[in-house]
Symmetry: C2
Subunit: 198 residues, 2 copies
């Protein structure tokens, strides 16, 4: 594409390998990076290096972290009584933006998916069970509300029930601000099932 500048061509090729970036956006991004102020481009390059060099996994909750155990697991303001179980680190990041939650996380590292050959031993399930001591009063299962996420949730709930006082599942229903008219029927049926008293 950019025959006149081999490194720009190479950058476009490498960017096109990232998810959601096609050949054309990659070329546009490469040109944009070329035009960035030096400092800003070097910063981006350095941060990519830094992420790979510094970030690992917390050996307690398996969240991404620059320290082990991570800041969440060592934060004394966060109660160890509640553990919220999610599939991926990005899910924990999303939940962490919700002010109400002040418990700790456990990242499974995926979901059960027999078709893809992902069984219980491929996820951090054993480590989760080991974390459920007497001080844990509730385990909230927040796997994704899709077939595999639900199956994982059911599987986990069966293992956890004998160990914890309370095992809960996040509510599935209509997203706030959405339109009942356009909701799919599975979501509607879940919203009815999960109805609550005023």
């Amino acid at each position: 594409m950019f025959k006149s500048a081999a490194s720009v061509e190479r950058l476009a090729t490498q960017l096109a390998r990232l998810p959601g970036i096609g050949r054309k956006s990659a070329a546009r991004l490469a040109m944009h990076i070329l035009k960035l102020p030096d400092e800003q481009a070097f910063q981006l390059a350095d941060t990519i290096r830094e992420v790979k060099e510094k970030v690992g996994f917390c050996s307690v909750c398996f969240n991404i972290s620059e320290s082990d155990p991570c800041d969440v697991c060592t934060d004394q303001r966060r109660s160890p009584a509640t553990i919220i179980v999610v599939e991926e680190a990005a899910d924990a990041a999303a939940l962490d933006k919700v002010e109400e939650f002040s418990g700790r996380f456990h990242i499974l590292g995926g979901r059960l998916s027999p078709l893809d050959g992902i069984g219980p031993d491929d996820l951090h399930i054993k480590e989760l069970l080991n974390r459920i001591t007497d001080e844990v009063t509730e385990v909230i299962i927040a796997t994704n509300p899709n077939v595999e996420g639900e199956a994982t949730a059911v599987y986990l709930s069966k293992l956890i029930r004998p160990l914890a006082i309370k095992v809960t599942r996040i509510a599935r229903g209509l997203p706030v601000g959405s339109d009942l008219e356009y909701a799919d029927s599975v979501t509607l049926s879940r919203a009815l099932e999960g109805r609550q008293d005023f």
Copy 2:
């Protein structure tokens, strides 16, 4: 977002500044880069640095290049008799994929746009006129087929006509593979205007 790993958070913020990448895609990209094999991520970081360090502009045609003059301007197989004038380096890269063209490029570095305060002195127009010597037989104006690109083309053609044997404008018409039914009327009118004998 990724409170647990400051550098991942920082990477997401920096990626979100790139054009066409929103907060959510930036977070997903940051996670993806974190999971890349070390080698691949470091390569990306190095290429970003390299692009900024190596790539400059050709002093003849103002295309991006790692050498000056660039490979196209020094390529003896390309005829110096034809110069194709484009707005940006990316346009030259697109035209360069067309096998038929074996002339040289001239990159204006933008288009005339009085509203944005871009006048003739902000573009490489003077340098273009200086390039039009006796050995140049045709100047093809390939600015974009929109209002500003057309205005730039008309402006250039007036300046070039006294200097060059032939000044042409790339054809505007229906894109190959498109549907006449869905074409806009301006394009249709250009397609009619530009009709050719069988």
